[in-house]
């Protein structure tokens, strides 16, 4: 049967987690503001593309593009983390 990690992280996990968090924060901080805005409104605030388009004053297609590019940028940064 599968074993599951305990609720508390091991020291190794904690170390890896802290590093990952820093990478993520930096990656988000380095995103173009319009990309960051779009991805956060989507992922953190849970707005739909239509809602994001309305509050940011751009088209839905633009929102789609920004979210895609934001994700790709984040992925590129996280790839470098080991």
């Amino acid at each position: 049967m599968t074993e599951f990690a305990s609720e508390s992280p091991s020291p190794e996990e904690a170390s890896a987690s802290a590093g990952m968090r820093a990478i993520l924060e930096n990656a988000l901080g380095e995103l173009d503001p319009v990309f960051r805005e779009a991805i956060l409104l989507r992922e953190v605030e849970g707005l739909s593309y239509e809602e994001i388009a309305q509050v940011t004053g751009v088209s839905v297609n633009t929102v789609k593009t920004r979210i895609y590019r934001a994700r790709m940028k984040l992925q590129q940064r996280l790839v470098g983390f080991r």
């Binding site: 049967m1 599951f4 987690s17 993520l24 739909s48 593309y49 809602e51 509050v55 895609y68 992925q75």
Partner: protein, 285 residues
């Protein structure tokens, strides 16, 4: 590489923002394009990782835009939107990403690395896949996932629990690991006890699912060398149960297994992507 014409659609798929026609078109493409399948699942992982974040600062102009909506009364959801924006603006800085989220982050890193490896591997997408590549997404070209119905879904889950066939690793779907061209430095060993099965399930009737306050699913733990399941919390609100409705005929993908059962990725009736327990499919409340 990801097919250019589908790049943004892959991301929109993750968000449940495709039209039915777009979804059908992309679905058909994914059946034959391992690179795009990989990319889709990496994007899903990215999305999950982001959802582990709590509100950072929102740009002032976003708040301004929301206020403009209030003045103009143009949006039915203005009030809730404004509330959200207030929260975005006034809550402290960056995200609190829990340990669980970090497990997911590690999965993302792995997936992304594999994806990069796949890119570096050139045009032969199927040959470039390793067990890790199936985490990132996978290779539908080799073997389209089986489709089962809600009635035999429990049976399917049970089968997933008995890994009698070599299967890919957690966190994102798909079939048979191919021989990897990725170097051993980035090709992780699979955890011996953790072999989630990739498959597709088609619910026969609408199901309403009450999820527990906290959703756990197994993910790859810790970077690239060690794979083992780690509980990962993906619910944005850990204090409130959430209810999803899955429409009849909804296609879901098994992505991970935990002590609670087999988890699947599904787009719910309201268009929101969610993780559900396979055993909850077909359970109406």
């Amino acid at each position: 590489m990801i097919c250019e014409e589908f790049q943004e659609e892959l991301s929109a798929w993750v968000d449940g923002e495709l039209t039915p026609d777009e979804r059908i078109r992309l679905s058909a493409h994914l059946e034959t394009c391992a690179a795009c399948s990989n990319a889709l699942h990496t994007l899903k992982l990215t999305s999950l990782l982001m959802r582990g974040l709590e509100t950072p600062e929102a740009p002032a102009r976003v708040t301004d835009a929301a206020m403009r909506l209030v003045r103009e009364g143009t949006q039915s959801r203005t009030e809730s939107t404004i509330v959200r924006f207030r929260r975005v603006c006034f809550e402290p800085l960056w995200p609190k990403l829990g340990w669980e989220g970090m497990g997911l982050a590690a999965a993302l890193v792995l997936a992304a690395v594999v994806y990069r490896g796949e890119l570096l591997g050139g045009g032969d997408h199927t040959a470039a896949l390793s067990p890790a590549a199936t985490i990132a997404g996978s290779d539908r070209a080799n073997e389209p996932p089986p489709v089962v119905t809600a009635q035999n879904e429990v049976q399917a889950t049970g089968r997933a629990e008995v890994p009698d066939v070599p299967q890919p690793v957690p966190a994102a779907p798909r079939p048979a690991p191919a021989v990897g061209q990725i170097s051993s430095a980035v090709a992780p060993a699979m955890h011996a006890d953790f072999n989630p099965q990739q498959q597709a399930v088609s619910a026969d009737e609408s199901s309403t699912i009450d999820l527990p306050p906290i959703i756990e699913f197994a993910a790859i733990n810790d970077q690239l060398s060690v794979l083992r399941p780690t509980p990962v919390f993906v619910a944005p609100d850990k204090n409130a149960p959430r209810r999803y409705t899955v429409k009849a005929g909804t296609r879901v993908e098994v992505i991970a297994k935990s002590k609670d059962g087999t988890w699947a990725w599904v787009t719910t009736a309201d268009g929101a992507p969610a993780y559900i327990l396979m055993s909850d499919l077909g359970r109406s409340t």
